[in-house]
């Protein structure tokens, strides 16, 4: 054990939706620890709680019970605006449906997180172009999402996720809408950011092939962790 706290530490996390008879326990007492620099894949059947876990890890959602420490800070006690600050400064998101702003150029989309970081316009521009170059789309900077293929859109989304140099990238089924070749491109990009930039990556996926890019695979079933280990052994 290193003396530094783990990047992410969950203990006894539960997330309950609804109440009474309609109560759904999406997460049920999850303990988990993710160290800086890891590449973690999360798998599980639908309804197993893997997306809920990802939302809580990404500070998009708050747990009903339990303690979540992000970089040593207890997230459970934070306000919405304080969680927004954590997302702004330490977390980059990649979604299955890309979630780019429509009718907005790739460059402007990538700049978006930097606006909220209060970075001046010229610097924003430079950083965003740099991020687009890292995903190989510098020549598509002024294209709207509607003019880009699915794989390109997801690469713009990855550029948006990494432009602020976050500690961790949360990727929720990043290859869910893509064919195998495109999927592999995305996974290779994520791997590169993990290896070269030391970014921690947490990725939810339902494709075992994609999970194999990770160094660690956590399996969820019925809101609990069923297994946690090397993806090659688990599969």
């Amino acid at each position: 054990m290193s003396p530094e706290p783990a990047l992410i530490q969950l203990s006894g996390i539960s997330r309950v939706y609804g109440s009474g008879d309609a109560e759904v326990r999406a997460l049920d007492g999850v303990d988990m620890e993710i160290a800086a620099g890891e590449f973690v894949a999360i798998m599980g059947p639908s309804g197993s709680g893997k997306s809920t876990a990802m939302n809580i890890l990404g500070c998009l959602d708050a747990p009903t019970q339990g303690a979540y420490q992000f970089m040593g800070v207890e997230v459970g006690g934070l306000s919405r605006d304080q969680r927004a600050l954590i997302r702004r400064n330490y977390i980059g998101f990649v979604f299955q449906g890309y979630n780019l702003l429509a009718r907005t150029s790739a460059l402007d989309n990538v700049e978006l997180p930097l606006i909220y970081k209060g970075i001046a316009r010229a610097e924003r521009r430079a950083l965003a172009l740099d991020a687009l170059a890292k995903v190989g789309l510098q020549d598509r900077a002024h294209h709207d999402p509607s003019e880009l293929s699915g794989g390109q859109q997801q690469r713009v989304a990855i550029a948006r996720a990494i432009v602020g140099q976050p500690a961790v990238i949360m990727a929720d089924e990043p290859t869910g809408n893509l064919d195998t070749a495109r999927s592999r491109e995305i996974m290779e990009l994520l791997t590169a950011f993990n290896v070269e930039d030391g970014m921690t990556i947490v990725m939810v996926t339902h494709e075992p092939d994609m999970a194999e890019y990770a160094h660690r695979l956590i399996h969820f079933i019925d809101g609990r962790i069923a297994s946690d280990g090397d993806p090659k052994q688990v599969n």
Partner: protein, 403 residues
């Protein structure tokens, strides 16, 4: 630092060009319609008030015949007045500035090969005083001409145009039926009243000339009485009535066989009519405002899904609730201001054109402009801002998944 949100808002406005255009259109229609209609309505009202003032709000018209009839009704069988009645009103009724006879007949005025049908009014110099109508060229009647019934006349501007083609009529003779009249003066232009009556289409001749050579009797069928300013027309009217009852020997049990009509009554009727018209126009304008408002509302509500997802994205990348709301508020304000400005300019332009076409004064009312603008802007801001506020308070995940 409000500059950045404004820049972002302008960017967002152009990004959603169609939505922005429709929103602006709603504001523009609402604001422009209200301003145009109310301004033109107000202009018509002012015009009527001016016309009525020209007619003379301190003017009484005395005619033979039963009361309760308008100034245009005929004298019926009641006895006409004569010049002594006019003099009596002039000298015996307190507060009378001028009393003038005004017998009128429609006749054809002829000059050479030109002719024009007009109103020939037999009167005297005090008529000019009762109607506030100065002679702009030549001179008024001389006392001697009035006494002797000379064949001289004063012309309205329309006659000068029709018979003399705008040339100098002074000293020329025109023919009215069998009378040859020397033109001694031209009256000031009065213009067209808001009801389309040409107020310059008349020939004035001395009352004695009219009685002798046109009517063939010494009757007076109409007396204009101008009341001094500061004196109430009501008291002058009452005094004239009692004087005339006395002069015409009407016993206390009999009704008047003449009537005194106060032009103020016309004024109030006319102002009432234009008031109703302005009210109607305003109602139509209010409907336009409402339609514009509903347009804004629709487009804002229809785009809620897309906006909600956008807000979800912004929240996910680290925007705080307040930042998102500020951005949408600024966007709504910028849109409304922009639409409002276009609407005000368009409305004023339409009103100016309308006022010109209808020949009414162009009198924009800042209060109405402000109200129309305020309403549309409020609709734009409320329906732009509140859905955004709701979205900004949602869980980012729910906002992202919003269908």
């Amino acid at each position: 630092m409000l500059w950045e949100p404004i820049r972002l808002a302008v960017q967002a406005i152009f990004r959603n060009a169609l939505r922005s255009f429709l929103t602006i259109l709603g504001v523009v229609i609402g604001v422009a319609a209200v301003i145009a209609m109310v301004t033109v309505g107000q202009g018509s009202k002012d015009q009527v008030t001016q016309d009525v003032a020209k007619l003379g709000t301190n003017l009484l018209v005395v005619r033979p015949g039963q009361p309760q009839q308008g100034p245009g009704s005929s004298g019926g069988t009641s006895a006409a007045f004569d010049m002594r009645d006019v003099e009596a009103i002039q000298t015996q009724v307190p507060g009378v500035r001028a009393a003038a006879p005004a017998n009128t007949r429609t006749m054809t005025a002829i000059l050479g090969s030109r002719n024009h049908t007009t109103s020939v009014i037999g009167t005297d110099s005090r008529y000019l005083e009762t109607r506030d109508m100065p002679v702009v060229q030549g001179r008024p009647f001389y006392e001697s001409e009035l006494r002797s019934g000379s064949a001289v006349c004063l012309l309205g501007q329309t006659i000068v145009r029709e018979l003399f083609n705008g040339g100098d009529p002074l000293g020329q003779d025109i023919r009215l039926k069998t009378i040859s009249c020397r033109v001694i003066g031209v009256m000031e232009e009065q213009g067209v009243s808001s009801f389309g009556t040409d107020q310059d289409d008349f020939v004035l001749i001395p009352i004695k000339t009219f009685q002798r050579r046109v009517a063939g009797n010494s009757d007076i069928v109409l007396i204009y009485v101008a009341v001094q300013s500061g004196v109430s027309t009501e008291s002058a009217k009452a005094n004239i009535e009692s004087l005339m009852r006395e002069r015409r020997r009407i016993s206390p049990t009999e009704e008047d066989d003449f009537n005194v009509f106060d032009m103020k009554q016309i004024a109030s009727v006319l102002t009432g009519i234009t008031g109703v018209l302005t009210g109607l126009l305003s109602a139509v304008a209010a409907v336009s405002l409402l339609v514009g408002g509903i347009g804004i509302m629709n487009i804002m509500l229809v785009s809620v899904t897309e906006r909600t997802r956008e807000i979800g994205i912004r929240l996910a990348v680290g925007a705080q609730e307040g930042q998102v709301m500020l951005q949408f508020l600024v966007e709504a304000i910028v849109l409304s201001l922009f639409g409002g400005l276009i609407g005000i300019l368009l409305g004023l332009a339409l009103a100016a054109v309308g006022a010109n076409l209808l020949r009414v004064p162009f009198s924009p009312d800042p209060l109405i402009i402000l109200m129309a603008f305020g309403f549309s802007a409020a609709v734009g801001v409320v329906f732009g801002y509140f859905p955004a506020r709701r979205a900004a308070r949602m869980n980012p995940i729910d906002a992202l998944r919003h269908q």
